[in-house]
Amino acid sequence: MKQTSNRGLVMQLLLFTAGSFAFGFALVPLYSVLCQVWNTGNRWYGTQTAEASVIERPVTDRVVTVEFVANIPHAGAWEFKSQVPSIKVQPGKLYSTSFYARNLTDRAVVAQAVPSIAPQTIARYFRKTECFCFTPQNFSSGEGREMPVRFIVDPDLPLDVDRITLAYSFFDAPQVAAVSR
């Protein structure tokens, strides 16, 4: 019977182990790719880039409720809220609303808003032409301001969806560059 020497076999198995360790890290980009392909998982794919152009073609006989949620994940020193809790929209028509944020600290802070859309499978039907989440936001001490969002709900939105939730989490962004998918 042909067999590998102990040393050879141990080397193969150690290589196998190293490969498994590398595979654990490879799962990170792998999941990102799979989620994009299957349009699932991370809910903000495509939600942090502006649409180059949108053509308005309103569907007048359909109304969808868009809800706005503002989150501050850690006990950050922020005031952050949506100007309106929700609006009723017609698919295919451009709308704008705004969020209000105020820095409660006495120093300048950079913040980044990360959007999330529910139900997660319809993220690609929710298009933003302008959003404060596209770039890090600078706030001087105590500064508060309105931040606009302009969006359009795609007329091809599946018929069983009549309610969309747009949630923003507002993070202190010390390592700014972060983000931006």
């Binding site: 067999q3 141990v10 360790f21 595979f23 799962l27 962004a173």
Partner: protein, 529 residues
């Protein structure tokens, strides 16, 4: 299957020369010494983890807060799981592998004795680190053994201690696994082809491959947690573009094969014991090997059934539901073969057989509740309730742990050379088997009625079954002292055991050496036809 034609043990006893003093254990390279240390270590951990379980059951005896604050309760839940999985069950299987694999394949020792020593001696350090974290000012890890972020990142000083403890446990089990693979592939006696390998060795060979495939993935996942916490990476931090749900995917990619790491060697043990006490060869030996391999393969593609409720597309839910249910097929083959082995056999009911039979019944109950949990719409109801707790305790306690006890009762005379106290062992069996059901069966009812897991207090409607469960828990816990007493008595002395030990015609090579097995066995390889 195979017969043994030579008995290599000569009368001059040179093979029984042992090193003396503490050095025998510190620098041990003998597979029997290391096996013994693993088994003693896992027994100590079993009682430490058991004490934590009793603390949990004491707190849950009635509603309201009795003994601890919720934070300490959460530490108990988290550490109970880590200690039992990585400290009790896995080292016990490695200890059995160390003792029995060389004896079963006719090898003089494990292939890599020095690494064997390292892989054991890492463990006490790992668990000193883990259990030591309980004494840090902020307490031990309390975010659950699954270490989900962001909660686990908030556990204070115990967090890095837990991470490094997990790294060490992983390193130890990877080394143990490599040792098992090299031993089985390279050191079999001449004539022992792979399909003549005893089933305990087969299941361990496959388990060892699972270990080197997934323990490094766990190491990677906890390393990512560590760098997220201390080095500003954003693997799981949405502020930097990460996703906490991804941790769950990576964790359970390790976690599901891990549950088979905890049960496949148990399948092997039961496949050794049932034929012996049925006085028949194993029914469907080849099918058992292929079933084990199929289970191992399927374990890699079912991980998301642990997390149906985090949200995934319908197609994903369907895939993970179907592939999970598919595992019932090879597992069913195994249960069928064990049952068929007993069919028309000359059964006798010594303690190892009793434990193996209890395993067969009670593990199957755990398997069925697993099937219920695999059904996506039902899982939305069961998720994070006591039904899940009942399910995995049925497969791990009367499953994995009963199989370990069966193995100890089966091979103990071979280790000590004395017959243990049968009456006491049968008492241990009956008290354990009745109490383990009193302990875990009511948890099915609690879960179906909606009692959530991982909470120190509960609604008064759940009181009765919690009381029953706690009573069962305490009886089960203290009845394990009988187990220890049986072993201590047998080590101290008793009626000598014969080389065959059991009144049956067993083909295994371990029965060709005298009892106790000499310190050095199979210096010249036996002949296997």
């Amino acid at each position: 299957m195979k017969t043994v034609s030579t008995n290599n043990v000569s009368a001059d006893r040179h093979d029984d020369h042992k090193p003396s003093g503490i050095g025998r254990w510190l620098f041990a390279t003998n597979h029997k010494d290391i096996g013994t240390m693993y088994l003693v270590f896992s027994c100590i951990m079993f009682f430490i983890g058991g004490a934590m379980a009793l603390a949990i059951r004491a707190e849950l005896f009635r509603p309201g807060m009795q003994f601890f604050d919720p934070g300490f309760y959460n530490q108990m839940v988290t550490n109970h799981a880590l200690v039992m999985i990585f400290g009790a069950v896995m080292p016990a299987f490695v200890g059995l592998a160390n003792w029995m694999i060389p004896l079963q394949i006719g090898a003089p020792d494990m292939a890599l004795p020095r690494m064997n020593n390292y892989s054991f001696w890492i463990l006490p350090f790992a668990f000193t680190l883990l259990l030591g974290s309980l004494f840090t000012p902020s307490g031990g890890p309390a975010g659950g053994w699954t270490m989900y972020p962001p909660l686990s990142l908030q556990s204070g000083n115990s967090f890095p201690m837990m991470i490094f403890a997990v790294h060490l446990m992983g390193a130890s089990s990877i080394m143990g696994a490599i040792n098992v693979i090299v031993t089985i592939l390279n050191m079999r006696a001449p004539g022992m082809s792979l399909l003549k390998l005893p089933l305990f060795c087969w299941t361990w060979l496959i388990t060892a491959y699972l270990l080197i495939a997934v323990m490094p993935v766990l190491a990677g996942a906890v390393t990512m947690l560590l760098t997220d916490h201390y080095f500003g990476t954003s693997f799981f931090n949405p502020a930097g573009g990460g996703d906490p749900v991804m941790f769950q995917h990576i964790f359970w990619f390790f976690g599901h094969p891990e549950v088979y790491i905890l049960i496949l060697p148990a399948f092997g043990i039961v496949s050794e014991i049932i034929p012996t006490f049925s006085r028949k060869p194993m029914f469907g030996y080849d099918a058992m090997v292929y079933a084990t391999a199929s289970i191992a393969f399927l374990s890699f593609i079912v991980w998301a059934h642990h997390m149906f409720t985090v949200g995934m597309p319908l197609a994903g839910q369907m895939f993970f539901m179907m592939s999970t249910m598919l595992i019932a097929v090879p597992t069913g083959v195994k249960v069928f073969n064990w049952t068929t082995t007993m069919w028309k056999g000359s059964l006798s009911f010594e303690p190892p057989m009793l434990f193996a039979l209890a395993f067969l019944f009670l593990f199957t109950i755990g398997g069925f509740s697993g099937l219920m949990l695999a059904i996506v719409p039902a899982d939305y109801q069961y998720q994070d309730t006591y039904f899940v707790v009942a399910h995995f305790h049925y497969v791990l306690v009367p499953g994995a742990i009963f199989a370990i006890m069966a193995a100890v009762y089966y091979w103990l005379p071979k280790w000590t050379g004395t017959m243990y106290d049968m009456t006491l062992a049968k008492w241990h069996f009956w008290v354990s088997t009745v109490s383990v059901n009193v302990l875990f069966f009511p948890q099915h009812f609690l879960g179906l009625a909606g009692m959530p897991r991982r909470i120190p207090d509960y609604n008064v409607q759940f009181t009765d079954w919690n009381m029953v469960s706690s009573v069962g828990g305490f009886v089960f816990g203290f009845s394990q002292l009988v187990f220890v007493w049986v072993i201590i008595k047998a080590v101290r002395g008793g009626p000598p055991a014969s080389a065959k030990v059991w009144d049956a015609d067993m083909p295994g090579l371990e029965w060709s050496v005298p009892s106790p097995a000499p310190y050095h066995s199979f210096d010249t390889p036996p002949d296997v036809h």
